[in-house]
């Protein structure tokens, strides 16, 4: 086909083919767009990158256990390996409640580096499985199996339900932890829940869609949302909406311009950030000329 003209109507005519991957990207990005508001405002943008690497190391270690030490059954399960390392890394990062974010930032860096270097080192012992790891862990956003779509949908439903129910608690624990604790809110439980939902969302999305779009979805839509929203609940809603837009429109853009899906989704999300920034700047210039008339 090469550069044969691709049009949106061709995309929608073949919707049956694209429905599952497009919806998967949309749902995963909506979930991460909501959680990303906390990620961005708490200055942990590299959290999801670090969690993906930790998950990768977990899978690699499980294979290494099977290949080199003859482990079998549950102990060599890549899913278990990913889960253990993901939760371990998240717990390590979440446990740090020091006053400055500098230490947490450093911890995220350490997890990322140990994860990626560990994966490279272990990788030389399990080359045959490397492609499996690639497929298993850094899934492809182009083609998504129905089972993976169901996994993402179920995760998103659970995570979004928890966050719809508890956003006031997560907000208090995130932005006024001392005040919340004085008022008797279960700050530790809220923190743990917030980080567990983050770890879950990031690892499932990485597994199905890949590391790049997951990282992008957990940072960019919420960045745009925070810029535009007057308050946290609106930011959370906008984050979800912008995420969904990046995931869905990104897939269409990948189709139209024949670029990799994860890259297209990331670029659409980045375009949203740029538009939000422009909108905020335009609004600042506006009051002098435009608003006076609209007030009447």
């Amino acid at each position: 086909m090469g550069d044969a003209g691709l049009t949106p109507s061709m995309f929608f005519d073949a919707w049956e083919l694209f429905r599952t991957p497009t919806l998967t990207g949309t749902v995963a990005a909506a979930m991460l767009g909501v959680l990303g508001v906390y990620v961005v405002l708490r200055r942990m943008v590299f959290l999801s990158a670090a969690i993906s690497q930790a998950a990768g190391l977990g899978v690699a270690l499980a294979y290494l256990g099977a290949v080199s030490f003859g482990l079998a059954g549950v102990w060599a399960s890549p899913t278990l390996g990913a889960a253990v390392l993901t939760l371990g890394a998240t717990a390590l990062i979440a446990a740090d409640r020091s006053a400055t974010s500098a230490r947490r930032d450093a911890l995220i860096g350490v997890v990322y580096l140990v994860g990626s270097a560990g994966m490279l080192a272990v990788g030389t012992r399990i080359v045959q499985e490397l492609q499996d790891i690639d497929a298993l862990l850094f899934g492809s956003a182009v083609a998504v199996s129905d089972a993976d779509f169901h996994l993402v949908s179920a995760t998103a439903c659970a995570v979004l339900a928890v966050h719809a129910l508890g956003w006031r608690g997560f907000s208090a624990a995130s932005f006024d932890p001392d005040g919340a604790q004085v008022r008797g809110l279960p700050v530790r439980a809220l923190e743990a829940t917030l980080f567990i939902t983050l770890a879950l969302a990031v690892s499932v999305s990485t597994r199905v869609l890949g590391a790049l779009p997951t990282f992008a979805f957990s940072v960019l839509p919420s960045l745009a949302a925070v810029r535009l929203a007057p308050n946290l609940p609106v930011a959370l809603l906008l984050g979800g909406l912008f995420g969904a837009l990046s995931g869905g429109v990104g897939y269409l853009v990948a189709f139209l311009y024949e670029i990799p899906v994860g890259a297209a989704q990331t670029l659409v999300a980045a375009a949203l950030v740029a538009s939000a920034e422009l909108a905020v700047r335009a609004a600042r210039l506006l009051p002098r000329q435009g608003l006076s008339s609209s007030k009447r």
Partner: protein
């Protein structure tokens, strides 16, 4: 975007015809994973087939990042030609599943593993210790660098096209025969040309273990590969070994495909005062290049470097 109105309309019309009439339409729709396979399918099928390649020649065939638009030709394909030997294992299965096209599922009537019938090299005899494994567990999958393998593949494609489209069976057979004759001429001519080189010059260093078939055809000796094992990035110790080997054996030409990293090779080339040959990763099928022209070009590049 500016684009012609005609082509998408035509495309849609063909698609609609395909949906309406099932497989009994004028042309067979063929999808090949690699551009080399696509070029041969096009050569054999002529105007009776419409061929799409999934990978770009500049992409490492082990790690292809497929485009969503490729799901459309896959979904409508009558025939999917794969390289096999687990070359595409990292990226093809989810595409196959998503295409919702029973014909091209593995083992289906429209699924052709081109490696069947090729004389394979480096097939592991035992698979006891998996920690010694690499990304070539089923044998070396890079046979399309060798026109002798292409001859086998062309015949297999002709046979399968004949099964799918019996009225044109003789058309496919004749075109395959023409390709085989031309390919055989290239095989013999290049082999003779390389044989004329002094044997001390017929030594090369590879990057990935992807030149095995090519070297076997042209009578070259691969003294070392820059990757210690296929798919593993070079470690400092291994690079030192390669350098020592280059000095010992006098191998003065490093050959690698365009999609492999060049920093290590460039360092080695500088230190051992050797030449680098960057090969095209495959036939420039989308630009209308023919497979045998690509092969001649490849042989020419290597020959030039060796005769310095």
């Amino acid at each position: 975007m500016t684009r012609s109105v005609l082509r998408p309309t035509l495309f849609l019309a063909l698609g609609a015809a395909a949906l309406a009439a099932g497989p009994a339409h004028a042309t067979l729709r063929v999808v090949a994973t690699l551009p080399d396979l696509a070029a041969i399918a096009s050569e054999v099928g002529g105007d009776k087939v419409q061929v799409t390649a999934l990978a770009d020649p500049a992409e490492d065939p082990h790690y292809v990042d497929p485009k969503p638009s490729l799901l459309i030709p896959l979904s409508r394909a009558d025939l999917l030609i794969v390289n096999g030997l687990e070359l595409e294992v990292g990226w093809l299965p989810p595409l196959q599943a998503s295409a919702r096209n029973a014909a091209i599922r593995t083992g289906g009537p429209g699924y052709l593993d081109a490696s069947v019938g090729v004389r394979l090299m480096e097939v592991p005899q035992t698979r006891i210790d998996r920690s010694q494994g690499d990304i070539h567990p089923g044998g070396n999958p890079h046979y399309m660098h060798d026109p002798r393998a292409a001859i086998v593949v062309a015949k297999a494609i002709a046979a399968r096209l004949a099964t799918l489209d019996p009225p044109n069976a003789s058309f496919y057979a004749e075109r395959a025969q023409a390709f085989v004759r031309e390919a055989q001429a290239v095989v013999d001519a290049e082999r003779a040309r390389f044989a004329a080189l002094p044997s001390a010059k017929r030594r090369v260093i590879g990057y990935h273990r992807s030149l095995t078939y090519l070297e076997d055809w042209l009578g070259l000796t691969e003294e070392a590969t820059i990757e210690p094992l296929p798919g593993i990035a070079p470690s400092p110790g291994h690079v030192a070994e390669v350098l020592a080997t280059m000095r010992e054996t006098g191998a003065r030409v490093i050959v690698q495909e365009e999609y492999y990293r060049r920093n290590t090779s460039e360092t080695l080339a500088r230190m051992a005062r050797s030449e680098m040959v960057i090969l095209h990763g495959g036939t420039r099928f989308a630009k209308g290049e023919r497979y045998l022209d690509h092969i001649r070009h490849t042989a020419q590049e290597i020959h030039d470097a060796l005769s310095h």
